[in-house]
């Protein structure tokens, strides 16, 4: 016969075990979603979208939001320790390294297993034939123009070719009033100025830096001419001072403060510019093309991409969340609020209430083809930094020609491609 004490112990143990099993059975699934989107969207929009998902599926979404640069570091740290949040916001330039590391899940497998039709996706970033990132929203990088500066210089027409740009740049620059033609952020801390503000000129003229997925810098005539154009702008002192420590937000600030006539920047900055300089007469135009080029222009795009952590215990639920974000209605809503273009080609965002500048940019985007050759490359940020440092050396007179500089960059890039 059981003693009284032993009986009580058994009873207590049974209650504890029952309690634990009840708790685990009724445990709600919560997906952690780390991204930099929430701070860039109007307040509450992303939370509202996630709450709608929870209402439909019963799956909770916890938002982990930080600025872009911090998000990258935190995701890289999570990838290193195997503690990545379930769903992560990704930039196309990070994908190769995280995929090679095995930190992000193969989305192709999840798409197949769930029977998802991927034909409506505008961009999938793939590594060795498998998708690891899906673009949720695309952002174009057109050219912003401060029309007030142009008017003061007596210029009516926007430049459409490089030679016209050179001529306009000389006319609008006035160092005594701290007004310069162009801003080029070349901070080595965040070297994406090479991608967004430098390569944009090449892509707009139909040029490319890669051939068959490999660096094609040596003897690349369009690239050489693009470098010469930039060097000329620097030599003529038509570029805003402080370029070597300037980051993209600093460039936008210079523009908002009326010190830059032209800048190439993301459409995501449109609201910031309109709020920062409500009285400024701003226009959005195409990036001037190389003289003689009559073909279609490429326009640099950046993305809000999305992926799933390999270490996630809720991959199916995470995929349901991605499917939800990519559904035409939700995707259209995100695109409209973000001042971007939808990642789902079947989405029909309502831009009717948008600023006229946005509509202009949308037209430019539709007339061009989206391009960003850094997406999906190994160690993209390193590639940009190598280009940036050698370009600075060239501007400082350390290389005798653009061709020599490109030879050096190609050598260093090939080492990374070969790793």
């Amino acid at each position: 016969m059981l003693g009284k004490r032993r009986f009580l112990v058994l009873l207590l143990m049974s209650i504890v075990i029952f309690g634990i099993s009840v708790i685990s059975l009724s445990e709600e699934i919560t997906l952690e979603f780390q991204q930099w989107w929430e701070p860039e969207l109007p307040e509450g929009v992303l939370r509202e979208i996630c709450d709608e998902f929870t209402a439909k599926t019963g799956i909770n979404v916890e938002l982990i939001s930080n600025p872009y640069a911090d998000t990258k570091v935190q995701i890289a740290a999570g990838a290193a320790t195997g503690m990545m949040p379930d769903v992560v916001g990704l930039d196309g330039s990070w994908v190769y390294d995280f995929a090679k590391q095995g930190a992000i899940a193969n989305l192709s497998e999840l798409m197949v297993s769930s029977g998802y039709d991927d034909s409506q996706l505008s961009l999938q970033v793939q590594v060795e034939g498998n998708t690891y990132m899906i673009a949720v929203v695309n952002f174009a990088y057109p050219m912003y123009v401060n029309k007030d500066i142009l008017k003061n210089a007596g210029i009516v027409e926007f430049p459409t070719t490089w030679s016209e740009f050179k001529s306009v740049a000389q006319k609008v620059t006035d160092p005594t009033s701290n007004i310069y033609a162009y801003a080029l952020p070349l901070s080595s801390a965040l070297p994406n100025g090479i991608q967004n503000q430098f390569m944009s000129w090449l892509w707009a003229s139909g040029g490319k830096m890669l051939e068959d997925g490999k660096p094609n810098l040596i003897g690349n005539e369009k690239l050489i001419q693009g470098i010469e154009l930039m060097k000329w702008l620097f030599e003529e002192e038509l570029v805003t001072p402080g370029t070597y420590t300037m980051r993209e937000p600093d460039m936008v600030e210079e523009f908002v403060n009326g010190r830059v006539a032209f800048m190439i920047s993301s459409l995501a900055h449109l609201t910031l510019i309109k709020e920062g300089a409500p009285n400024m007469d701003v226009a959005i135009t195409s990036i001037p093309k190389m003289d003689g080029y009559t073909g279609k222009s490429g326009i640099c795009v950046a993305n809000w991409g999305i992926g799933i952590a390999s270490n996630s215990k809720h991959k199916e639920e995470a995929w349901r969340f991605i499917e939800y974000l990519m559904s035409p209605e939700v995707n259209a809503k995100l695109a409209v609020y973000a001042n971007g273009f939808p990642g789902n080609t079947a989405s029909e965002p309502d831009y009717s209430k948008k600023d006229k500048l946005f509509v202009d940019a949308y037209e430019i985007y539709q007339e061009s083809y989206a391009i960003n050759e850094f997406i999906g490359l190994p160690r993209s940020e390193d590639l940009m930094r190598i280009f940036l440092e050698n370009f600075v050396l060239y501007l400082e007179g350390e290389f005798d020609s653009a061709e020599t500089m490109l030879e050096e960059i190609q050598k260093e890039w090939l080492r990374i491609f070969g790793d």
Binding site: V73, A189, T243, Y244, R379
Partner: protein, 297 residues
């Protein structure tokens, strides 16, 4: 099984210390051991099955010219920062301890002088970026007083970036010395100064033969701690120059960061971290010895 009484007695202190020891092992010993181990393997983290490469990573790092640029810059940055912290700290502490300044003025100076210490490093970086910008107030003032013809890009100049970042670090760090030394000055018995005055000592004699020897223990502690902290300085440099332009302000901390989070070369980042750890260990031993020596006195 019962432990012998002698062993039980010896183990007792460890039992009481166990909560702190467990935390230290988890938060300090394990990460340090992992980083040291990483430095002996090939591309860890990225490669799921890294292989042992011995000292190959050390060879790679120690033959990298950028590492030596970073080491040289770190030596300059740390050396000048610590020296300037020391001089400014003593100067301001003496000023605040002076009997020739009224109480209200002293209180005002204390608030003004301690301000840099109250700001976070991110705020300091943003503040100085605005000040040193080619369109910033420093250039403006230098130009209106005709010290400059054209604006200088203080943080973006290859020749000036490291000096500019060092000045920012000096500004942000001297109040720690000032407050510590002020406390030390207030603890020096006045009788020493009075007796020396009777013996004919002037202010300089008093400073070098009474003040400095009396402050020596605090000074040594401050210098050692400051050396370790300044070697590890990252935020200020990253947020102002990012180590650029062209590695002109690259220090060991920014070099490690770029290796890890830009190049994804975690093994090399770990190797450089171990080198920094060795430097800090030497300083820590010096600090511990000095503290032990003071304790014996």
């Amino acid at each position: 099984m019962k432990l012998p009484l002698n062993l039980k007695k010896k183990m007792e202190p460890f039992f009481y210390l166990s909560p702190a020891l467990i935390v230290m092992i988890i938060l300090i010993a394990v990460p340090i051991t992992m980083v040291i181990l990483f430095s002996f393997f090939d591309n860890v983290i990225i490669n799921k099955n890294p292989t042992f490469v011995g000292l190959a990573n050390y060879y790679d790092v120690l033959t990298d010219p950028i590492f030596f640029t970073a080491l040289k810059n770190t030596t300059f940055f740390v050396g000048i920062s610590v020296l300037a912290h020391l001089i400014l700290g003593i100067m301001f502490a003496l000023l605040l301890n002076s009997k020739y300044i009224g109480k209200k003025t002293k209180a005002l100076f204390r608030i003004i002088f301690i301000l840099p210490w109250l700001f976070t490093e991110a705020i300091i970086a943003i503040l100085w970026r605005l000040l040193l910008n080619p369109n910033g107030i420093v250039n403006y003032l230098l130009q209106i007083f005709n010290f400059l013809g054209t604006s200088i890009d203080w943080l973006g100049s290859i020749d000036l970036a490291l000096v500019s970042v060092t000045i920012i670090n000096i500004w942000s760090g001297y109040p720690f010395y000032m407050i510590s030394l002020l406390a030390g000055l207030q603890g020096i018995p006045q009788e020493l100064y009075e007796a020396s005055s009777i013996d004919g000592a002037n202010a300089m004699n008093q400073f070098f033969y009474i003040t400095i020897p009396q402050l020596k223990p605090i000074l040594l502690s401050l210098i050692t701690l400051d050396l370790v902290w300044t070697i590890q300085q990252f935020t200020l440099i990253w947020m102002t120059t990012g180590g650029g332009p062209l590695h002109a302000s690259e220090t060991l901390s920014t070099y490690i960061y770029k290796q890890a989070f830009s190049s994804f070369q975690y093994s090399k980042a770990a190797t450089t971290s171990v080198i920094v750890l060795l430097i800090c260990i030497v300083l820590a031993i010096f600090y511990a010895k000095q503290q032990k020596g003071e304790g014996l006195k």
